[in-house]
Symmetry: C2
Subunit: 768 residues, 2 copies
């Protein structure tokens, strides 16, 4: 914390903490409305099938059923969240493409009737062979998921920077490793839900969304409405992690059901439906080749990836670009080739999940780099220090990096983890590993093409100055953005956090903001809030100047007090007094601000996806213990050092690190969405989909390095997703250190580790 800040840099309590812990906070599912109907979607039981007929007559006759709709009753304009590939319909028209694809929906007087009605809808299917293994999706003779996309290729990327072949030819050592990442799922504690109702030609949707703005835009687009006629508001929200960024069947069919019935309709996904809706992590096959010099310095790299996209695009185009585009960010090298196919399969669509495309490739790259270090006999910490990015550099794919304390992060992690005393010196079964990560602080381009600013904010000061309300479209999805934005507002105004109030994430009552994704809100929404606060402060100082007969330039305001920079005032003024006087003499005291990202460079089209105003960097070191009899992994300690720029709220920041680590740990060791040979999810519930709990967590030692990032408000960058990136590689490397085995497919399950140890023993025995 810098001494010069009065409000930011402090672990103030969450602004919504009391309401959440007392149960007063209302989530979407807690809202109720007179004459509320319940809606439910009928989904496909087949992974791939032609729809021959749909008979809703029996369902319609069931008492309590108010509406039954199919593709005939809804707009057939295709939608999606990546505008380059709108490929989804509200309801399937010709065929279904995964178990869970949307076929029809009902609105009924209660949930029970919904389930009965769904059972009465008769759908005749002609079951088709399905594409279930993405690694064979392009094979000759495979079924086509979408006729428009030959060989099931949804996205194809081939990028070349420098001359990789020449770099490999010149290298001291070239090595290739292949890794497999699995489908995982965000598992937010609050399943997604939406309530829709119409007032005349105007639609209101309460939704557990990460972005009221995108929902508003896509809903308006689907129904051919003006955006101003669609209101999207986010009540309290219980976690998103990327899964709630795109509008779903709940919003689209809910709006149609509400329209037809003239009543509000509440819809939700139960946990199994959440799994089937998915939009979680892509499964990925990742082949990494690098060439290094004798000192382990990277000369070139080739990333050759296949991604399981599932049945629809979702955010997959961005995921695909992120997968490759962020790899040259942590380490400096000049030659890079990136090849990727994102493939359609007859499985649930994959989308964005914390870290977006980055964590699995990072797992692959960091595991691979340890292998390279091992090949060359270089300490894993040392090989990273030698390659680590420096500040004020530009990546080979044109990302402008301002601040970057990756080296300092590595050094600090080495020191606090006791790396020197532990590496190679721990007792048998114990190991220590390191990995790095980096992430964007918001995306330079919005998801759909628009020139609108990315964030706006305004602040109203109460008439007697004893409170101020921040209006922001930014979306607190549990990460605490409402709190840090209020801190920023107070800091910029020279006010006190304790007197801040907030109105957020409602397209009717707050100014636009693109919402919570790509770790953008601290930097982008924060900049808009800072501007708004500074506009208030300017008016305060001008008013105070009149009141005190002191030139405006000599006045400053902080923590609710107006004071002179040059001398002690006999009668200093409070912010409150000045604000009140302003209201009396000059009218309402309002400030506003907005944020548009700077024009970002980019030699090639793909750069657009990864470019950001600023990048965070981080290092994790973990110490693990392996049970040789069972393969069980116990993670004892994790040291995380994050270069996040200026910290706004240390407690919330460390909370993000803990959360990111927990998610990364789950993906490392336990999590995988499993399918049977018909495309059914085998573990669509939280009993069988194994998430880490508090009891599974290691001791976490979270540290920050705070360079002043010029692109961020008060020098701030991201933290929410970045800390997910090193985790899987770090655990993989610690296991490698402990047992000398490398498991090349996630999760690094006990069974796989046990098998790897067994194979190594057998091989050692055979060789020995």
């Amino acid at each position: 914390m810098s001494e010069k800040h009065r409000v930011i840099g402090r672990s103030v309590p969450r602004i919504d903490g009391r309401e959440k812990v007392t149960g007063a906070a209302k989530y979407t599912g807690d809202l109720t409305f007179p004459n509320l109907l319940h809606g439910k979607i009928l989904t496909s039981p087949h992974a791939h099938a032609r729809i021959l007929s749909i008979d809703t007559s029996e369902a319609e006759r069931l008492p309590g059923v108010k509406a039954v709709i199919t593709h005939k009753d809804v707009p057939t304009l295709k939608y999606g969240i990546s505008p380059a590939r709108w490929d989804e319909n509200i309801f399937c028209i010709d065929k279904v493409r995964f178990v869970g694809d949307k076929v029809a929906a009902v609105a009924c007087i209660d949930e029970e009737t919904c389930y009965k009605a769904l059972n009465l809808i008769r759908v005749e299917y002609d079951v088709l062979p399905a594409v279930l293994d993405f690694r064979h999706a392009m094979d000759e003779g495979m079924p086509q998921v979408h006729d428009e996309y030959p060989r099931n290729i949804n996205v194809e990327i081939h990028q070349n920077f420098g001359d990789v072949e020449a770099a490999f030819a010149a290298a001291h050592h070239v090595r290739t490793d292949a890794f497999l990442g699995q489908r995982t799922y965000q598992a937010p504690i609050e399943p997604h839900s939406a309530i829709s109702y119409w007032e005349g030609e105007k639609l209101t949707v309460y939704s557990s969304t990460q972005s009221p703005h995108y929902f508003q835009y896509y809903i308006a687009r689907e129904f051919g409405m003006k955006m101003g006629d669609v209101r999207v508001a986010k009540p309290y929200l219980g976690g998103g992690f990327g899964g709630k960024l795109e509008p779903t069947g709940l919003e689209f069919s809910g709006a149609v059901l509400a329209r037809r019935t003239g009543r509000p309709v509440r819809m939700f996904y139960d946990r199994a439906e959440m799994f089937r809706h998915n939009r979680g992590r892509h499964a990925q096959y990742m082949e990494i080749t690098t060439g290094v010099d004798a000192d382990g310095r990277l000369l070139g790299a080739h990333a050759n990836f296949l991604m399981d996209g599932g049945a629809y695009t979702s955010l997959g185009i961005a995921t695909a670009y992120y997968a490759g585009a962020l790899l040259p960010l942590t380490y400096e090298f000049d030659n890079y080739r990136f090849d990727l196919f994102r493939l359609y399969t007859n499985l649930p669509a994959c989308g964005a999940q914390r870290g977006h495309g980055a964590p699995q490739p990072k797992y692959a790259f960091e595991s691979h780099l340890d292998n390279v270090a091992s090949d060359l006999g270089i300490d894993p910490m040392e090989i990273r220090l030698r390659n680590a990015r420096r500040p004020d550099t530009v990546t080979l794919n044109d990302f402008q990096v301002n601040t970057c304390e990756l080296k300092a992060c590595l050094e600090q992690a080495r020191e606090i983890s006791g790396w020197a005393e532990k590496k190679g010196k721990l007792p048998r079964g114990r190991g220590i590993g390191v990995a790095t990560g980096s992430f964007v602080s918001g995306a330079g381009y919005p998801i759909y093409r628009t020139d609108l600013p990315h964030a706006a904010a305004f602040i109203k000061v109460h008439e007697d100055g004893t409170a101020a309300t921040l209006y922001t479209g930014a979306t607190d999805i549990g990460q605490g953005s409402d709190t840090i934005l209020c801190q920023m507002a107070a800091e910029a105004m020279g006010y006190r956090y304790e007197q801040m109030k907030i109105v957020a994430a409602d397209t009717e009552t707050t100014p636009m903001d693109l919402g919570a994704y790509a770790s953008r809100q601290t930097l982008m929404s924060g900049t808009a809030v800072k501007q708004a606060g500074e506009a208030v402060k300017k008016q305060i100082l001008e008013m105070a100047s009149v009141m005190l007969h002191v030139p405006c330039d000599d006045l400053e305001c902080g923590d609710g007090l107006v004071f002179s920079r040059s001398r002690e005032l006999e009668a200093p003024l409070t912010f409150e007094e000045v604000a009140r006087k302003h209201f009396v003499l000059r009218g309402p005291l309002l400030g506003h601000g907005s944020y548009t990202p700077p024009k970002l460079g980019g030699k090639f089209k793909g750069a657009a996806v990864g470019t950001s105003p600023a990048y965070s960097f981080g290092v994790q070191v973990s110490e693990v213990e392996i049970d040789e009899d069972t393969g069980e992994v116990t993670v004892h300690d994790v040291w995380d050092v994050h270069d996040c720029g200026t910290v706004i709220n240390p407690r919330l920041l460390h909370g993000q690190v803990h959360g990111a680590l927990a998610m990364g740990m789950g993906e490392s060791v336990w999590e995988q969405v499993l399918f049977d040979d018909k495309g059914n999810i085998r573990n669509p519930d939280l009993a069988n989909y194994r998430l880490p709990t508090a009891l599974d967590m290691p001791r976490i030692h979270s540290r920050v390095i705070e360079p002043h990032e010029p692109a961020g408000p008060w020098g701030a960058k991201e933290v929410g997703e970045g800390s997910t990136n090193p985790t899987m590689g770090c655990f993989s490397n610690a296991i490698f250190d402990a047992m000398g085995v490398r498991v090349n497919s996630l999760p690094l399950s006990y069974e796989k580790i046990w098998r790897a140890m067994k194979e190594k023993r057998e091989k050692d025995a055979a060789e020995g």
Copy 2:
């Protein structure tokens, strides 16, 4: 409607109409919160008694009781709404002063437990003799309601303008009449309720209030808090009519109960409690003397009034001043004396009710004036035309009148009612009467002393210009202010009403406004809204000027289109396009405005109460039929002509006239709160307190005259209360015309009319 207006002057549908008719609108009592407790107040069964002891121990032991509080548990700072007489405590300390006075309160898990708990609180009283008849409250030896106020005098006014005695001496005819007005009660369809909860040191109160601002101020004052730490929000509200302007025991004790229990507490008055809380019309004894010349021109008047204040001041000081101060407004005369005593009695406190102090004195004066006309053989219409106020005049008590079309109102009422054909020519039992009225358009001074503006507003335009949200503290209590303020916003912006949204009446999310009373919002809140809209339009035109390369001065904007004043544009712009461009290039499009009344004159202190920026004027003519056998009055037709300045929404305006007439009619013929000799209300329910229903209503012919009032937005003045003022006098005069009898006490009940006719028959027979 003026041709030059595009949005105002149109009967647009209410902005809240759909939510109200579908039942979606949530009123205070509809809100719920986790762990909500129910609170109830224990009230006095005695009109006047000393409290000897209060034992709450048994109540506290009842399962389900969470808190029991008495005066020992609450601040003892006296409160009230008229700052000159704060005389009420949250709970009585030494003695109770009316049946219904507040003694203790409980918070329990449900309502049933509340009633049980109240029964278990033991209060020992020493019953005292009570003051029940205000006309004897000053008598020697009467009990004292408040020790601090000798002879039970709460307010005493003696005003002299000119020389009344000289005027009377010079008059051709001097006459005195005495009238009695009764206690009536507003009977809003929604009883008053409040929900209070604390978050740390911050208090939130949802209340069915007419003024979130005053509630916030008085609650903060009572608890020694900053205003910014008290949030008061008004959900939908079902009628106030003056009765919900002052904070009640529900807010004060609810806040304490919520504090002690740490839980939200909901409290409400049931209908009987509403009657006992009262704050309705004062009973008034009114002696009117006037002197006129031979043509019936008023030379001087003396108003000598007694008012029944009840046990506390409430808004009674203002009521008292209004009673006399508005009398010289309708008619022009130079000499005036006003004497009034407002007296404490051991009955529920009286306060403000539609028309405030004016309707009963107006009933008295208009009845009296008809008597004078009859004495002189002048047509009642003619005597009013001869005395009617003219525009651009100043009243004897220094009210600056700008627009005043009273004469035109009289002439139009005479014409449309067929006065010439009917007056004196109707069949026996039928009669026609006329009366005038006038009212303020907001009070020049706020209720508590403050230099804050009286209203403020801001408007946010949606980022793509397809919607705009008005933020106003103004309070829609059913009268439709949200609708007309949105019309005004759209008109000022050059926008469309259909695209307006509103956030209103919440001290946290909207700018301050003094609320709904004294018919102030159209003029005062409206001026602030107009300014805010004009600020938006200015930015739109500036942006459009850049886009069109047309000088700003040549551009205009209306109904959502930007156009050139001088020529037809090849490609005219929509407001939406320009607003969107503004957001892209210049950030959020926000406008704000505020309203502070002009410094108003006033030779004497009392003028402060009545002074307003503008005054409405109105005339009513009614045709009635009397059943000679029963005295039953049937009102066939009422013609109302109102000078309200520019009409913003004709349908809502006429709705106000209808409502005012209904209330005036109830007070004329049926309504009276009745007491037994112990001070208990005999008719505290809507079965026995006789309100007019839709079936009782006459045909109403509502017309307007629209001078352009310079003090009001687009020339608008008031309508909500003004139309209540002529009604009682008008009915009284029609009955007089029909039967030659004058009933000098309200209500003009069938029985009283029957008795008066009987007396007249007997007298005529004796004389004949």
